[in-house]
Symmetry: C2
């Protein structure tokens, strides 16, 4: 069979580009850094949105829609924030054929405009916590872009909350981190993540603490899959988000923000994909089982349609491929590229023996299954392959995480995976040196694996890696 993709071992970035193109996930748009997400890619994102949205709502946040355009002056009100985002802004200077009185920017993120309105909506402690989220597009004028991973415009959710106390804000930022993000990534995406605190240098512009979830890609590099920030009272002071406490005192709120984006699609590809294409975990997959008519004749089409309906009734998301005018081999290659977890091939020859063929994307195995047992076999395969994908990724992460004792060793180990060492051996000076060599501190964790409150805690472990 002709080679469809550049093998991962030969050129990983090229493999990634090939998958995105050949599986018809996305392609570059006409304006620099923009992207067109095609049906196959968008269906994956839609499933991510469904799963994440349910978790965000379960955490008590309500969805809203804020404007795309933000007055430039808003960004200037928080010093670190404007410093962080100014180089990446797209500026609208004309509207309706006339120059604007004040230039406005396309939102790179929305802390400032949420802050402006939270200040109006929050009056007393009874209005707190205020828990908001939006699904939208944002735009950051990036210098080097890559489909899904770093695009100028991308789709995401951004949560913005206001709380009466620092403790409450911290609890909520961590609730989203674990109950929405980590739970989704581990249990739906089947992507193991290292959850920790960003160093002061790596944290979000305007935050007092940034929590992160870092996943290891198949080339050993790290991808930040989502972040949750405590913003302290920085934005509350800049936008006058204050409230009358139960004790009758005017107090500033404590705010948080947290986001995850179409970048996760890139993470999914690079964590699970292999030399035949995507492998989409069953719980996420828009199509979990692709029923494929091998060729017409001897009731194959009718049997396939019946199986499709039975699978649907069993709650399986089913695709149906009866395009026998296209060579079977090409259809099989396409199904592999797109990573359908299971394919069921229905053809006259096997049907004569009462069988269909169950093909698992996980390992490419092909098993004849009696038609009467087909639904059960598909459901069982979906269940076990979800776990198997996670286990495989987790084993790889363990294998490619090296415990080291010196910064020099960490930088070396980061060439092929994650390096783990005491944060005390790195420190701010070590971090600078690592950065100069293309390695960054991905996050800090406590010795027991939990997430620290500060990089000054004793005994912290640092994860260093190259990253996307």
């Amino acid at each position: 069979m002709a080679r469809v993709l550049t093998p991962q071992a030969e050129d990983f970035p090229r493999w990634y580009q090939d998958v995105v193109a050949k599986a018809e996930l996305a392609e570059p748009g006409p304006v620099r850094g923009s992207q067109v997400i095609r049906p196959v890619g968008y269906a994956i994102w839609e499933r991510m949105v469904d799963e994440m949205d349910a978790r965000i709502k379960a955490a008590g946040a309500e969805n809203v829609s804020f404007p795309l355009l933000i007055p430039e002056s808003y960004l200037r009100r928080e010093a670190q924030h404007v410093e962080g985002f100014s180089p990446e802004l797209a500026v609208v200077t004309h509207g309706g054929g006339k120059p604007l009185d004040e230039p406005v920017v396309i939102r790179p993120t929305s802390e400032t405009i949420f802050g402006e309105f939270m200040a109006k909506w929050v009056q007393s402690y009874r209005d707190l916590p205020l828990l908001l989220n939006q699904w939208c597009n944002v735009l950051r004028w990036e210098m080097r872009t890559r489909l899904f991973l770093r695009s100028a415009e991308f789709l995401w959710q951004e949560g913005h909350t206001a709380h009466a106390t620092e403790a409450d804000a911290r609890e909520y930022a961590r609730k989203i981190l674990h109950e929405a993000y980590e739970d989704f990534m581990v249990n739906v995406l089947a992507v193991p993540v290292t959850v920790g605190l960003k160093t002061v240098r790596e944290r979000f512009a305007g935050a007092t603490r940034t929590y992160t979830l870092e996943a290891m890609m198949r080339d050993g590099k790290a991808l930040q899959m989502g972040t949750s920030h405590e913003l302290g009272q920085n934005f509350a002071r800049a936008f006058e988000i204050d409230y009358l406490s139960a004790a009758g005192k005017q107090e500033y709120c404590w705010t948080t923000s947290w986001g995850s984006s179409t970048r996760m699609v890139g993470g999914l590809i690079m964590c699970h994909g292999d030399d035949s294409g995507l492998r989409v975990p069953p719980r996420l997959a828009p199509i979990q089982a692709q029923v494929t008519v091998v060729k017409h004749g001897d009731g194959a089409l009718a049997a396939a349609a019946k199986l499709r309906d039975a699978l649907r009734d069993a709650g399986v998301r089913v695709g149906f491929d009866e395009r026998v005018d296209i060579p079977f081999g090409r259809r099989a290659v396409n199904a592999e590229l797109r990573g359908y977890p299971v394919r069921v091939e229905v053809g006259p020859r096997d049907l004569a023996a009462g069988n269909v063929i169950l093909v698992r994307r996980l390992d490419g195995s092909k098993t004849p299954v009696n038609m009467a047992d087909a639904v059960g076999a598909v459901v069982a395969a979906l269940e076990s392959d979800q776990q198997a994908l996670f286990d495989e990724a987790d084993a790889r992460r363990v294998q490619h995480t090296e415990d080291v004792r010196t910064l020099a060793n960490a930088i070396e180990a980061a060439g092929v995976g994650f390096a783990r060492l005491p944060w005390a051996k790195v420190g701010t000076a070590g971090e600078t040196k690592a950065n100069e060599l293309g390695v960054s501190v991905r996050c800090l964790i406590r010795p027991d694996g939990s997430v620290p409150d500060s990089e000054d805690e004793k005994g912290l472990i640092a994860y260093l890696a190259r990253s996307y």
Copy 2:
């Protein structure tokens, strides 16, 4: 009780503004014409998206995501299109701190950029029809804006399809019109719509035919709730969307586009709302039944929670209000403002008699119901009030639609509702005259109520009205 809203009869536009503000649906954003959609308003839009998306997918279209920014040059390729949209464009001239080589615009609609990519994706007749849709934000720099009804930025879906023949394109534009839009509006929004063809003057910039769904608001004005366009080969020629036919000939495609937006939220408010606030039809309502604890004591809270769970188990979308620290009257007013179809009041006094009180938003009726029958009574009320809302709106539409014989009478009748008369009595000259007096031809229908293919057909009926 203090007056909450300006009565409709006193000042309808003011009533609308009051409802949007007091029910906390939306408020103006900082940049002219922008809006912030708050949780109560956004939950309504989310339900619209869910219902519409299912219908659009059932019609075979697949979701995608195209870029926000479009090169200005794309718009210039279709003469009528650029003429129609140029006055409304927002232009980005700077990105990443530098002037851009070519200015780009924020999409006012996406025919051009879809056209550019369709041309790449469509090669042969086997690639047709190509049926795409996206949910996104668009921006048109409007001079006079009103929340939901006419905002500069708004949320919508825009479908874009390419077909091998004109007949196929027409069939699909009409399929969306009836099976997605009309079905949703009638059966979910409970809004009767007049479905017809736009005149040449009123059609979309670049279309050969525009189909529309027009609803009557409570002040007798028309609101365009959605449109579906045949674009002929205009965009296919401008963007080179062509294909190799089965006969081996290179042919231009026929394309369509169709859209519906957050404007429908405005239509919902103005079609069903009354002097107490919104009335949301049960099938749409994010909260169908609000279980309200009147006051604590004698097991009221436990009984209310039990009822909430039983309603949820019966598939009802339930809200729960146990905030007994807020005066009961204020909570009742808020529930009416937000238009929950049914409220179930659970209080110690009625509970002593085994009862709860069922309050229907439709007519304000309050009925004691035995706790054991409460779930059934709620489900029955939701069912019948969905129909009752539609019937009420439809009766109003009939009552305020006047059959007239002359243009002068039509213009007069359009002061209070819809005027209906033979299109032959209006014509292009009459249309100009009506427009000068603030009246427009909303659509044309055939005598049998069906949708014409051309304004030149004999015997067509014209609907004239003032409009939003």
